[in-house]
């Protein structure tokens, strides 16, 4: 096995996914298969090759530091399930 059930549980918790035991079972098998497939890459000799950070051979896509109009509070809040004045309202976060 490339991945344990505990690791899948951990990843699910990080992604805030509540999984049933059967789902966990199935996902562990699938992720194991995916990792097995990706492992094929290890057969390549990558000695001396810079790790690829981006699939497109491109660099330095910049914008100048010029202000553009924002979209406005009304449009920003358009999809918000809950609002508090011009703020987004979320369940209480306790620090």
């Amino acid at each position: 096995m490339k991945i344990s059930r505990e690791e899948v549980e951990h990843v699910a918790r990080l992604a805030r996914l509540a999984l049933q035991p059967a789902e966990l079972e199935a996902l562990t098998e699938q992720m194991d298969a995916i990792l097995g497939y990706v492992e094929k890459l290890n057969e390549l000799d990558t000695e001396g090759i810079i790790p690829t950070a981006h699939a497109v051979p491109m660099e330095n896509a910049f914008r100048e530091d010029l202000v553009k109009p924002s979209i406005g509070i009304e449009r920003a809040q358009q999809n918000a399930p809950s609002k508090d004045g011009s703020c987004f309202k979320v369940p209480k976060v306790i620090e």
């Binding site: 979209i71 011009s86 620090e95």
Partner: protein, 478 residues
């Protein structure tokens, strides 16, 4: 502090940049605007929106890296730092992990206790800030995303500091550098310069670092010092009682002077960094680095040395004048017009800074410009006015904006250097204070100050005090 343990401190500083716009979108980043009025699909984290890097952020990162003796990476990349929090709309923060833009820097600090020392800077990387959570009463929190996507540089030091004083010395120097460069406004209270401190202790001689606590919420140099000192005491107590320090994040409460553990964040961080596919690598050619290097202003450390070595100023003066770039700039305009650097320094540190502090005015808005002040110093140097009258002239310029010469002329403040005229005043003073004069003659020398004072008073400050002094001495020996 308990000498059984060595204190180890590493600092992470978040420097908010002074760009006009955010790091990945064109929204303005003005402070204090109505919540969410400065947002767009990119900084709201709407699906499909693509970030585009602000060139100025790269420029500022290179500047800061060079000023802190870092190597600038020819190629650096952005990464996603994944975690859930309501102030982070995308569910990840765009930051740099592998291949940050600056690495292997250092700053030299100096403290009274431990002397000179080099503090390593592991890395400085570019990242976006999160939004702001406003904790309302009741069972909800409110989110303002105006700050989301604001450009930050995060400077991570090596765990090289051994006392709160060293930590403060390092922070003050970094603060001075970023404000000199103009990449940061340096406002700690508004959160433009934020510090987290990693603090641990270990028995002397032990190689491995002790378990550290991360202190957050430190928004003034005073609090940082307090928080570190409190944390060291706390950890010593824990160890002395046979316990062990827990790795955790602690929030410092400045009002109570204590820190408390931030519960709920104890689960080990697992950010699953990976290269952000939305952003292409940043490639900085040598020409770019060299251009930025050639445009760097004179930095505080070099300026300090020049003030000491070339201008012959005492350490203390050089330190005060270099503390902030606008003060140094004021001083330099002045000293370019008036050659006596020490006199210039005395006036800037004295009348100028004191008046500005009293009236809560920034030096850039000082009503007495360095040019006008040079006019006063000129008249002191050529004996037209005494130092005391000069202060009156300074106040007058502050109120009216006139030149020193205009004021001296209009108010007849020119110093009396005619010895006959001064002698007449001296005679009058002696006549009025016969008793004291006899004592002075009998050898009570400190009374000479009294007589000079009386002469100055009677002449309304216009008599040349040196001449008055000589004339009084002459009268004693007569």
């Amino acid at each position: 502090m308990d000498s059984k343990y060595e204190v180890v401190i590493g600092l992470e500083v978040h420097v908010q940049l002074t760009t006009k716009t955010k790091i990945f979108c064109g929204c303005s980043k003005d402070f204090g605007q109505q919540p969410n009025s400065q947002t767009c699909p990119v900084c709201l984290g709407l699906p499909g929106a693509l970030p585009v890097l602000n060139r100025q952020v790269v420029e500022d990162a290179i500047k800061t890296g060079l000023a802190t003796n870092c190597q600038i990476a020819p190629r650096s990349i952005f990464a996603r730092k994944n975690y859930f929090y309501p102030d982070l709309p995308k569910g990840y923060q765009i930051s740099q992990f592998e291949l940050p833009i600056c690495e292997h820097g250092w700053l030299n600090i100096e403290t009274e206790e431990l002397g000179k020392k080099r503090i390593g800077i592991t890395r400085i990387h570019m990242e976006e800030d999160a939004g702001k959570l406003l904790h309302a009463a009741g069972d909800s929190s409110s989110v303002d995303l105006n700050r989301a996507c604001t450009p930050l540089l995060e400077a991570v030091s090596e765990p090289d500091m051994r006392s709160a004083d060293e930590a403060i010395a390092y922070l003050k120097q970094l603060h001075q550098i970023v404000t000199y460069l103009g990449v940061c406004d340096g406002n700690l209270e508004e959160g433009s310069f934020r510090c987290d401190a990693n603090v641990s202790i270990r028995p002397w001689g032990q190689k491995e670092l002790g378990t550290r606590a991360e202190l957050k919420n430190l928004n003034s140099f005073r609090f940082i010092k307090q928080a570190i000192e409190y944390e060291v005491e706390r950890q010593i107590e824990v160890l002395e009682e046979g316990g062990s320090v827990v790795q955790e994040t602690r929030l410092f409460d400045a009002e109570q002077g204590v820190s408390r553990s931030m519960r709920g964040k104890e689960e080990a961080h697992d950010y699953r960094y990976f290269p952000d596919p939305d952003l292409v690598p940043v490639v900085v050619a040598d020409e770019w680095v060299e251009r930025v290097r050639s445009e760097l202003p004179e930095l505080p450390a070099a300026k300090l040395q020049r003030y000491r070595d070339d201008l012959g100023l005492p350490d203390y003066d050089a330190g005060v004048l270099c503390a902030e770039r606008p003060i140094a700039e004021y001083f330099e305009v002045l000293v370019a017009r008036h050659a006596n650097a020490k006199l210039c320094s005395n006036w800037v540190m004295g009348e100028v800074l004191r008046s500005l502090k009293e009236k809560q005015i920034a030096i850039a808005d000082c009503p007495v410009s360095p040019e006008l002040l040079a006019g006063i110093l000129q008249r002191i140097a050529d004996n037209s006015i005494s130092g005391k009258i000069a202060k009156t002239v300074f106040e007058e310029i502050w109120q009216t904006g006139k030149t020193a010469d205009q004021i001296i002329e209009e108010q007849g403040l020119k110093q009396v250097t005619d010895s006959g005229a001064i002698e007449a005043i001296v005679d009058a003073v002696i006549a009025a204070n016969q008793g004291q004069f006899e004592e002075l003659k009998a050898g009570k020398e400190k009374l000479i100050g009294f007589f000079v004072g009386q002469v100055m008073k009677l002449s309304k400050g216009k008599a040349n005090p040196g001449m008055a002094n000589q004339l009084i001495k002459k009268k004693i020996s007569e």
